[in-house]
Amino acid sequence: MTGRLARFLCVGIPVAFLGLFFIYPVVSILGFGLTGGGLEHLVGLPGSATFRGVAWFTLWQAAVSTVLTVVVALPGAHLVARRRFAGRRLVRALATVPFVLPTVVVGGAFLAVFDRLGMSDGSFRLTHTVWAVLIAHVFFNLAVVLRTVGSYWEGLDPGPEEQARVLGASPAQTFVMVTLPRLRPAVAAAASIVFLFCLTSFGVVLLLGGPGIATIETEIWRHSVWRGDFGAATALALVQLVAVLAVVGVGNGLQRRRAVGLRTVVARAPVAGRWELAANLGLLGLVMGLPVAVLVERSFLSGGGYSLDNYRALAVRVDLLPLTALEALVNSFVFALAATAMAVTVGGLASLVVVHGQRALSRVFDLGLMLPLGASAVTIGFGMLIALDQPPLDLRSSRWLVPVAHALIGVPFVMRTLVPTLRSIDRRLREAAAVLGASPGVIRRRIDFPISARALVVGAGFAFAVSLGEFGATSFLPRQPDRLTAPLALFRLLGTPGQQLRGQAMALAVVLMVITGFSVLAIETRRGSAGADL
């Protein structure tokens, strides 16, 4: 009886959560978009020159960002995968941080860099250009390529490369003829994820691209939040949904060719040469370190000298915001805790179903709960905005809708770390326990849980960091003082001219960066090889 109840809850809770807060809103977008005002806009889209321009720009900026990211990341991936050097783990962990940094913080950091280098206007202006968007995308997604390709590379048997060298291939020939083809599944996987992220990039485009640059994502926001034109917004959201599904489909197809002959060989990795190390770390430092360094420097700068004034100002309310920045931080913190609890519960149960459930159910869960990762934050926020606004589901008036949206985005992170760990538990352990008299429940409690506890903590850390920095979905939900989060406050501070506001924005960005960065860094340096790659 308890077994059946447990099984029912394992399946039921994730289904209810996903169904209510993701599927239903998406279906609402479909319904709204394919009828009445939405349909009218949809039919008009192909003929609209503005739309064609926006769609084309969305695609090519994503493509160029992806190629740039892969090119910049490959040498670093080689370094962490195939070379030994002091601080290797730290580099890996640090390289992960940008990925979880809030988009608004990254936007703020690059605004500060361009400002510092005198590129915020004049003939070398980067602020509010496509270049700013591309550079920030590389910064963000470097970690995805570095980790996905890096750990795949590390697991590849070096035998074929060595064999190629012995057979007379030069290092360059070996890379092109042997290594690159073998890395293809990992590069394809990483590139399709990066492409997806760039396609649905929101905060970065809004902040760094400025008013002159528009992607489908920012257009949805402008139409719905600014003009209240839900018809135009849903039509665009539909287009975006189809594009995302297509990319996810292609990406999955590319990933199907999976690893051949995986073997861990770290001990044999040669020590990195001095120049190789310097060049690589120099590049990573420039791309990743500079924005962070300038951001920190600027946060201490006020009125011509360095002081803590900007940080003190966080406790003082400015006219622009209904709360002080500090109160917004507290809101964010509470929401992040709630979102993490929900994400861990739903993600944990769903992972059990994916790993131990029936085949068909397992596949549906695996794909279904990953969807929010692919679907853009804007789709999630906008969907909730139009779906959950009437009784009996009038949740718009509740501030807890914010952590729910965040949890939806956090669930895939929990699952991506938990599922591989649960899968990697040797079946014989479980069989041995069963033979020794353990019931399925006991096996779960005594074998599965202790072994995967660390992965669960890692997933929770990611969910927490993601919630703390979430901007896209939150920016769609109704604005009321009790749900103003730190990223929203930061966005408004950054978007308003004024030296003092800018200083306060920098300080708030640093605080957010430190909290999210350290929550992931602490986990990263401790987790060893456990867990998956994002």
Binding site: D157, P160, Q163, G168, A169, S170
Partner: protein, 327 residues
Amino acid sequence: MLRVEGLRVVLGEVFVLDGLDLEVAEGEVLVLLGPSGCGKSTLLRTIVGLERASGGHVAWSEEDLTSAPPHERDFGLVFQDHALFPHMDVASNVAFGLRVAGLPVEGREARVAEVLDLVGLDGFGERRVDTLSGGEAQRVALARSLAPGPRLLMLDEPLGSLDRALRDRLVADLGVLLRGLGQASIYVTHDHDEAFALADRIAVMGEGRIQRIGTVAEVWSDPVSTYVAQCLGHENLIELDRSGGCALGRLGDGPGTVLLRPGKLVLSHGLDGIEATVVGSSFRGGRFHLRIAVGDMEILIPAPEAVPVGSGVRLTIGSDPVIPLVT
């Protein structure tokens, strides 16, 4: 001719090779024998240039290769786990060395067909690598290394992952193949039977150096040290007491370890001889092997027929029965 002089290799903190000398003549099959972890693979990897020497020299005749990169050495290496390129078919794997050498397509195809035929895989060219059996994969790896015609071919326990019967057959094939080609080769194994089946000369490796090198007959009949005797599979090593005696009688002038020469101790049919008890019996290689207790020691001797465990037997010992060994 390969010349390795005073080779030293450090991996981590350990000297895996410590002043190793070795020569391999053209057309010769040298078998390198030693237990797992004694540095055999490291030696091959260093000769081929995948591992860096921290001292000593690797040379081909007068050409010093110590710091040459692997792709300029013109040596071949067959890996234990094949290391086939998973993204290429059999023919492309075999053609790889020819391709990077810049051979035109027609020449490549002819050579690939030739070496595939040589290893008995005629017509396998278009097969995917992951559809091959263990023995087939091994032969593709061999063909791939042979294709560019390396001046020295090295094989690192190439049959280690295969089952016994297949191994015995492939060892025989391999011997015929290498001799037929007159291919200078180093064959690494920890299996002494494999070594005897293949070798022109055997080199026994231990403690990062070559401990004993010579023809099969030379090394077998005089292993010199207990270590080499054990590597070669000698079973009857006897500890002598201070006066050179043991349960079989006085076999030396003082304490030490000696090797009982094979065939010098046999079952006696008469009533005289040394009293002993059969404590174990096994059948392998078409013969019975009896484990016999004499006093406080046990000895293994072959016998033409089974003898029940527990029965008493008598042993006759021949003249000059032992060789002294150094420990």
